[in-house]
Symmetry: C2
Subunit: 389 residues, 2 copies
Amino acid sequence: MTKLSTSPYKGTRDYYPEDLALRNYVFSKWREVCNSFGYEEYDASVLEPLELYASKTSEEIVSQQTFSFEDRGGRKVTLRPEMTPTVSRMVAARRQELGYPLRLFSIPNCFRYERMQRGRTREFWQLNVDLFGVAGIEGELEIAQVMDRTLKVFGATPDMYEIRVNSRKSLNAMIEAAKPKQDVNSVLRVVDAIDKLSTEEFALKLSEVLKDPKSLIEALKSNQPNEELETLIQKADKLGIKLKYSPELARGFDYYTDIVFEVFDKNPENNRSMFGGGRYDGLVKTFGAEAVPTIGFGMGDAPLYNFLEVNNLIPKVKLKTDVMLIPITEDDLENVNDVANQLRSEGKNVAIDYDITRKFDKRMKSAQKLKIPQIATIENGELKFKDLL
Amino acid sequence: MTKLSTSPYKGTRDYYPEDLALRNYVFSKWREVCNSFGYEEYDASVLEPLELYASKTSEEIVSQQTFSFEDRGGRKVTLRPEMTPTVSRMVAARRQELGYPLRLFSIPNCFRYERMQRGRTREFWQLNVDLFGVAGIEGELEIAQVMDRTLKVFGATPDMYEIRVNSRKSLNAMIEAAKPKQDVNSVLRVVDAIDKLSTEEFALKLSEVLKDPKSLIEALKSNQPNEELETLIQKADKLGIKLKYSPELARGFDYYTDIVFEVFDKNPENNRSMFGGGRYDGLVKTFGAEAVPTIGFGMGDAPLYNFLEVNNLIPKVKLKTDVMLIPITEDDLENVNDVANQLRSEGKNVAIDYDITRKFDKRMKSAQKLKIPQIATIENGELKFKDLL
């Protein structure tokens, strides 16, 4: 037989117990925050019909980045690149039976076939938080609080990040005034890239998509938040959350309809967008159900790990096993399950080393390799504990 | 825009909060049992290179039941139909760094493109428990205990199920003595189906694959467990676990090398195999790493739900939100976030109904629809709690 590769599939990673313990820690904190705001967890399959993403998710993602294939029954199917179309589908399916305001969250794995760079993976996990049935800015205010808590819960302080906010409606009006050559979305994508471009490059790119680029540059400089945004910023401030008005903020997805958020990492080593969200009132309606006002955000795990790392916020996570039981004699081996079960009934997580032929030193080293904090030897029926770490 | 379907992809299902609460309950019990025996959780991507399954997983699954496709880079990739090849790959990749005995478990979703029947799904979750580095029957004894606990932890009693055990080595020897016409595996598959066939059908099927089918039928009837099995059965009995010797038990996967287990549901409504496992010492070696003795089992979620249902063991699971806060006046709405945050700091999970224009009755009904057990009204600054359930 030829030797098989031990590598995971390209763009994915393995989670050995210590890796998974860290991921489980992050997920449990996310769950804690969502639950405290009254959000309930849902899930769906990673497989979705391809048509679910057409004309919703950004064009670039659908046509160039999906993992799509035809199944054995000829159906076109996709590994979800994001969760928003799925949750909209699920809410539409039970539009009448569900109670509102409806608060839902999920931590799905998503797939995007992106160029591999800077430790990027093609599979990632994403916290998705969505509030259905709140039309007013109370919804935005709540989502801003949840976004803020998802960082503070890990020990982050407000100086480490910045929550930016904008009105897509205001931005759209400014773009219309600057006479777009093609559709507004193509202009939005240029505006959204402002942070990555020099002033000259930005002006040049704008002149390709606008008849009057200067009017937009002027508007972005001089513009003030509209009344709704101003109210939101003030109310958030009273709750101890600083929102920064950013007139050029657009967010990638086409489905956002009004206020959008983006959270930036302020650490100089890692100065970039971490996650964001916004209002997308139109999605449930596309399934033929009555429209429902919706606002939400999605937060990938990789940017968060980076953020926690550069800010020294990753804790030492522990594994679950409490003690490795080491029988010494034949008789001790014969009784080891009874001893282990007694310790288990007292609430301890107990592993057993059955190999009494191995040298004691080697057995202890194995327990250390396994990161088990304590060993317990049984010698002639006598149980002795010893801390390893 | 044409109306999109709200159905999930064929063969998969949506998990609304109550569905997921039940799944999370089952998974948390599984984790509790595994941790108590010293097993640590791992995970890997649902995507694996197709070649990982060739000549490991059963031929039928690979050629007819995998969800396989070619990615945008021309790689052949599969949605995992089972977890055993993955965990073998992961152990092989770090064969030297890991400590032994190594105890690993995972609860992956797996995909098999099966004919749709009896509520079967093409995506399912499966508890996978594997013990690496124990060559003797102490390993079998431990795995039998873990299998037994995964049912008892849900309140099951020993009369509800039966743990069957066999030696693949003994069975193989019996088959060899009956002169197989083709390979042994094709005979194993017939033997494994004995429960689904009448005595005549079984004899007929055997005569198609054996030159001397009668010798096998005789051997299956009269055979006694070999010494190793006998010891295992006695030791398990002392720990309160009844193992039933079943000389015809084979298990579907080709990679089992010696003792195999199968757990049967004894309820007349649901009399069938629920899950099983066995020893498969050869898998890690196929990755070019030093061989490691291994024994494990896999337990799908669907058979367990059936088992719990017919035995009336499914508990009433609760959602996470404790209280729906209902502000009555404009001023109350203005202060609702402060009140909510105060309650949250006391450990309560608090949702808010912001719509003070709705009739109180409707707002209360929404909270009931959402299965929230308590409401709290704030009227002119006064907070009053009321139980709903």
